[in-house]
């Protein structure tokens, strides 16, 4: 712990010394391990599409309001128009996506991350 904190503060042990190289290569081994690849693949497969989805969904609202005001002014229920309902749906979208992510992270990503931490402990790293 102490070593790392000092390393963070001052720029770390100079790369090129023997210890620094061993240390760096150990992390490379860990980064290339099947345990870590599994975690990263699982996360990437969820997070990248999720980010693209919410960005598209979100920016559709200001773009719609700007480019198609008459469409957005369509009244749906009484004077409640599409623009307001779309805005409201952004809240629902954000809540659902957050809930889905948290569930998936707790059930799938956390156990995969725990496997990497176990491996790191076996390699004598992680503190």
């Amino acid at each position: 712990m102490e070593t790392r904190n000092r390393g963070q503060g001052t720029g770390g042990p100079p790369v090129g010394t023997e210890t620094a190289q061993t240390r760096a290569s150990q992390w490379e081994v860990l980064a290339a391990s099947p345990e870590f690849r599994r975690l990263i693949t699982a996360k990437r497969n969820f997070i990248i599409p999720a980010v693209i989805f919410f960005l598209v969904y979100y920016f559709a609202l200001p773009l719609g309001n700007g480019l198609a005001p008459s469409l957005m002014n369509t009244k749906i229920i009484g004077n409640i128009n599409l623009a307001y309902l779309f805005a409201l749906s952004e809240f629902v979208m954000a809540w659902i996506l957050a809930a889905v992510y948290i569930r998936r992270a707790n059930r799938i990503f956390d156990p995969l991350a725990a496997a990497v931490r176990k491996l790191a402990a076996r390699m004598g790293m992680g503190s």
Binding site: L30, I47, A50, F54, P69, N81, M93, A94, A98, A105
Partner: protein, 542 residues
């Protein structure tokens, strides 16, 4: 007006009580900056909500909707959706790799000196603008509600209180002040929303019928329609393209909100107060529930004020929409109920400002004490007690400067100052955080270029834009009030170009060598800072 003062005094007394209690528990740096990492996830969720729902949210959005209808609601939407960026990309890696500040994450790979100095500059800029905006808001509201109070004294009082919270109680006090404030704010918003709906027989359709009858004189649009704040039909030249100004302003605002939140140092700091990355994640979930519920309720606060009180009833200062609505719902001016409601809502607004300013002061003082003083000036060799002392002195310094600037900026537009903060956070901080975590080639030169370049370009675009002068300049050098659409891509470009310059200058071997380590640590929590265990004497915070 004495009711307002009494209720405010009670809330201030409660928060000071918390601070004194917290002060007894704050001895080490991890307690001062991160509350010992013992805050649990729902507490942190409330505190994030408390940190986030500032005067701009409560008074500002209600006012924008009350004066401009639908377009004001776009702030509410953007400020919630922004948390998806925080949740999916930022919260857990930050908790896993940092200790106290945003710069900790960057310094993992990069040369500590330049990166920490640059990050301290951007953090102080973001927190400074944000803080001054809050204080200007506090000053105007207190001055208008209690005419005996001058603007100056209102700002000084806010300043002294926030310095007290932070200097004495650090993160523990700040967190609990946020929690109290968030609870009060939610209670106030729920109460007002129910009362507004009650005026329309709890029928949203009837409520919207009334909103549709409110018409903006200039554009002829009714308040349910987009296009009042950012009028349609104007065009703006952006490089070689000529684009619809309304669309560009809306998208640009959205970009600053969506990408800026994940770069706000006082929000990022909150993730260090929880024990694990999992708790950080869950706390964002709690925060999103609360923040979202609050922002949905801005419909009732803002439109309610537009329909029930109206522009003439609110007066020229749209920040007073929510307090004036409360006064109306309580029974009207000069009734007991009206005074009581006005007093309660004003006190909530005051508590809101105090809490947010305390969080900002803490972020700014830690950037100075932890990043600049300890790690740059003292080369990382400083005792715990000295660092806490420096952080406390820095909090006093930051607070005093903010008070002095706020007093002199009395006429500045509070929302515009917050816009500068979001522009810097989204253009300066976010690209660098993302690249540090996810881009192998990224290096020190790239990080410094991104931080400094993104910060500078945001400030310049706002200064030469239409917003900051009062009244707005007729032909500003930069046409947009929201610079995000230009400054955010530029922030990324600065970071990328800087990285290639850095490579040409002779590689930053450490940045490359440390990439596998930060990649593994940020995603798995190997070796993450533990919840503090050294202080058994101190009871767990419940």
């Amino acid at each position: 007006m004495t009711t307002t003062l009494w209720i405010t005094a009670i809330i201030v007394a409660i928060t000071l009580g918390i601070t004194i209690w917290a002060a007894r528990q704050t001895r080490t740096t991890v307690q001062f900056y991160a509350a010992g990492r013992k805050i649990n996830s729902w507490q942190n969720g409330l505190a994030i909500a408390g940190d986030y729902m500032s005067a701009a949210s409560f008074l500002g959005i209600a006012g924008l909707i009350a004066f401009n209808g639908y377009d004001g609601f776009m702030y509410s939407v953007g400020w919630l959706v922004a948390y998806l960026t925080v949740l999916l990309l930022i919260a857990e890696p930050i908790r896993n790799t940092g200790k106290y500040t945003m710069a900790d994450v960057l310094a993992y790979r990069m040369s500590a000196g330049p990166v920490r100095s640059a990050a301290a500059i951007s953090t102080l800029t973001v927190s400074g603008f944000y803080m001054i905006a809050q204080m200007v808001g506090a000053g105007s509201v207190l001055h208008l509600l209690v005419p005996g109070f001058s603007f100056k004294w209102a700002v000084v009082i806010v300043g002294v209180l926030m310095i007290g919270y932070v200097v004495l109680g650090g993160m523990i006090a700040t967190t609990w002040v946020q929690i109290v404030k968030a609870t009060l704010l939610m209670a106030g918003a729920v109460l007002l929303s129910i009362l507004v709906l009650g005026h329309f027989g709890f029928n949203p359709v009837r409520f919207f019928d009334a909103i549709a009858k409110v018409v903006d004189k200039k554009s002829g649009l009714n308040f349910t329609q987009p296009g009042i704040l950012y009028p349609h039909g104007k065009h703006v030249a952006l490089g070689p393209l000529t684009l619809d100004k309304s669309t560009i302003e809306n998208v640009s605002l959205g970009m600053a909100l969506i990408f800026g939140t994940a770069g706000l140092p006082h929000i990022l700091m909150r993730f260090y107060t929880v024990p694990t990355a999992r708790a950080a994640r869950t706390s964002v979930g709690w925060a999103m529930g609360l923040i979202g519920a609050f922002y949905v309720m801005t419909t009732f606060l803002g439109f309610g004020a537009a329909v029930l009180v109206g522009k003439t009833g609110i007066g020229t200062n749209n920040n007073l929409a929510a307090p004036k609505l409360a006064e109306f719902l309580g029974g009207g001016p000069n009734t007991f109920g009206g005074e009581l409601f006005l007093g309660f809502i004003s006190a909530v607004a005051f508590a809101t400002i105090l809490a947010v300013v305390a969080g900002l002061t803490l972020a700014a003082s830690s950037a100075f004490a932890h990043d600049f003083w300890m790690n740059v000036v003292r080369g990382g060799k400083e005792s715990e007690s000295e660092q806490v002392l420096v952080a406390r002195i820095a909090a006093v310094g930051v607070g005093v400067i903010a008070v002095l600037v706020a007093i002199n900026l009395q006429t500045a537009n509070a929302a515009q100052l917050v816009a500068v903060a979001f522009a810097v956070a989204s253009s300066g901080n976010l690209p660098v955080i993302l690249f540090t975590l996810f881009w192998k080639r990224f290096n020190t030169v790239g990080a410094v270029c991104g931080l400094i370049g993104g910060t500078a370009v945001s400030i310049v675009l706002v200064v030469i834009g239409p917003g900051l002068g009062t009244p707005p300049a007729a032909h500003p050098a930069f046409a947009l009030a929201n610079p995000g659409i230009v400054s955010i891509p530029l922030g990324f470009i600065f970071a990328i170009v800087g990285t290639y310059i850095g490579e040409a200058l002779g590689g930053d071997t450490r940045a490359k060598a440390m990439y596998p380590e930060i990649a593994v640590r940020s995603q798995t929590g190997v070796g993450a800072e533990p919840s503090s265990v050294a202080e058994e004497r101190i009871p767990a915070i419940v």
